[in-house]
Symmetry: C2
């Protein structure tokens, strides 16, 4: 247990992962259309009430979305204060990479999610809406650091660019061979730095 | 009729727009769930066969997605050849802005699309999948210019960043007051230039 992540947070991540694995396993076995929230809850050994504390729908349960980094890390990022926008972007990506190194996503789960998204518009909608929501949270985080509003252009663009690097890296990871996602994202960040001229 | 856009292309844009307007009008009057492809086709005065030449579904018909710029402009962009990646990005955005100035999207249609997307996951999925598809075409265009492959990192990142600027501008246009979308995108591009350090 690190200082930046308490026991409760670890349990939350664990339950989140167990429900997701149950949902993906059932979707693989029976076909996603036949799977219900009740079946997923029973398979994961939780009540449907607990299920809905974690996910709004069965579609959401098959989406492997990175949670935001721990509050302490986000607070430290914000406390660093205004800086050159390019530096804020690179700091934000570094924050996300540190969290990814601690909790690497699993290639199989990402693969299954993308495959379900291609077959089921509701899964695709949940997936892309998840990316949008994550990106909005990133804009809030940037704005907390720079003293801007989350809907101002610079925080939104910094959040978009960070997401573009993360997504490019994750897509390469999903179709790649190395089991560690971090180097894939690092390579995308190197490309982004070339674009930023730094 | 300009040299870069023939009569056939103008007719295509016109029919596209008429079907879309019919779909949005019917969705507003009767509720999207009750609208069928047959109803939209009748309202627009086209056969369902023509409908399906333009849109794969009723969800797709309410999505106001920019078409790619005319082939001649894309060819000229590609013929300019390899350049500094930041310059390729700014050239790509300039290409899209020229097309937007010629065929400005209508605020009402964008508003209606975003509202339908919030209510109907299938519309949201079609909308976000439309953005993804457009972005993929941009990566192909960039790769044709730089001699890379469309799935290489740089073309994908350049396409993502161009989309980020366009989407930020369009979101501000949709909630803004000026009837011309171009200045909204130009402001987002100015912010992006700051991030790129140029």
């Amino acid at each position: 247990m690190t200082r930046t992540e308490g026991l409760r947070e670890r349990r939350r991540r664990q339950t989140h992962r167990e429900i997701q694995e149950a949902a993906l396993r059932l979707a693989g076995e029976r076909g996603f259309a036949k799977v219900t929230v009740e079946m997923i809850s029973a398979e994961a050994g939780v009540s449907t009430r607990t299920f809905f504390n974690y996910f709004p729908s069965k579609e959401a349960a098959v989406i492997a979305m990175p949670p935001m980094p721990p509050d302490e890390d986000v607070t430290a990022f914000a406390a660093a204060g205004p800086a050159d926008p390019g530096d804020v972007l690179l700091d934000l990506i570094a924050l996300l990479l540190r969290d990814m190194a601690r909790h690497p996503p699993e290639r199989g789960a990402l693969h299954a999610m993308f495959a379900l998204g291609q077959e089921h518009p509701a899964v695709l909608a949940a997936m892309l809406a998840g990316f949008e929501g994550f990106q909005r949270q990133l804009a809030v985080t940037v704005a907390a650091r720079t003293g801007e509003q989350p809907h101002d252009e610079m925080p939104r663009l910094i959040a978009s660019l960070a997401m573009a690097a993360i997504r490019t890296g994750m897509e390469n990871f999903t179709s790649g061979e190395d089991d560690d996602p971090v180097p894939y994202v690092e390579r995308a960040v190197t490309t982004l730095r070339t674009l930023l001229g730094r």
